[in-house]
Symmetry: C2
Subunit: 149 residues, 2 copies
Amino acid sequence: MPPASNIGTSPAFLREIAWNADGLVPAIVQDAETGEVLMMAWMNEPALLKTVETGLTHFHSRSRGRQWLKGETSGHVQHVESIHVDCDADVVLIRARQVGGACHEGYRSCFFRKLAADGSLEVEGRPVFDAGAVYPGGGPSAPTTPSAG
Amino acid sequence: MPPASNIGTSPAFLREIAWNADGLVPAIVQDAETGEVLMMAWMNEPALLKTVETGLTHFHSRSRGRQWLKGETSGHVQHVESIHVDCDADVVLIRARQVGGACHEGYRSCFFRKLAADGSLEVEGRPVFDAGAVYPGGGPSAPTTPSAG
């Protein structure tokens, strides 16, 4: 969706969200074009509000205690097309147009490993970008900033 | 997937899952045919193992402290087609063939409410079954048992 400036600073639906004890809600991001599930990460109220206001997904990093824009390091932002809320209002589903890949390991989706018949996880598909080049040096924020988990 | 009896009782991937402090992992269920995201609920290790063994989704109810088979009341079970794990191994994605509807409110998907331009939530689509008939009386377990939230 385009930046929703007409919504104002406090959309009514934010008051309906059943935030958990830490003030967070899981946000599933789905590719608006292919339907592929790309990632799940956590939002607090400011991150969800920022997502609505800017039309770009923002999340709350529990490990670093701060808000992050998906793609702030990689440029692989997610343009929000729609936001849905589930029956219990404790999970959010965001359909978005993904630039590049959602996963900090270089894959289009974070769900690139599949349970195989022998009980192990096998990689499906190939990376869509070079994670080593996009997140060079493995700096202090590189391993966790763009992670969707 | 068919019941994976060849996997045995302890698939290797279970040891790779990054369970949270409560021993749980969020499990996203996606319609294997349409790609629609149906619900998200929580699994502990026994529930995920039971899901693998039986080919039907099982979850762990935090409020009731017990495992539940999705569809145990409604018959609206989910036949597992595949199980994926994300990069951090702290979210599971299950593609399944959904019988009836996933949502205890009668909708195919629990995400039947969409953020509208005025900041409110509007219902999309129509129920696919009569929730009042499927979960009669609103008994003690009816409101929460089949809930996907």
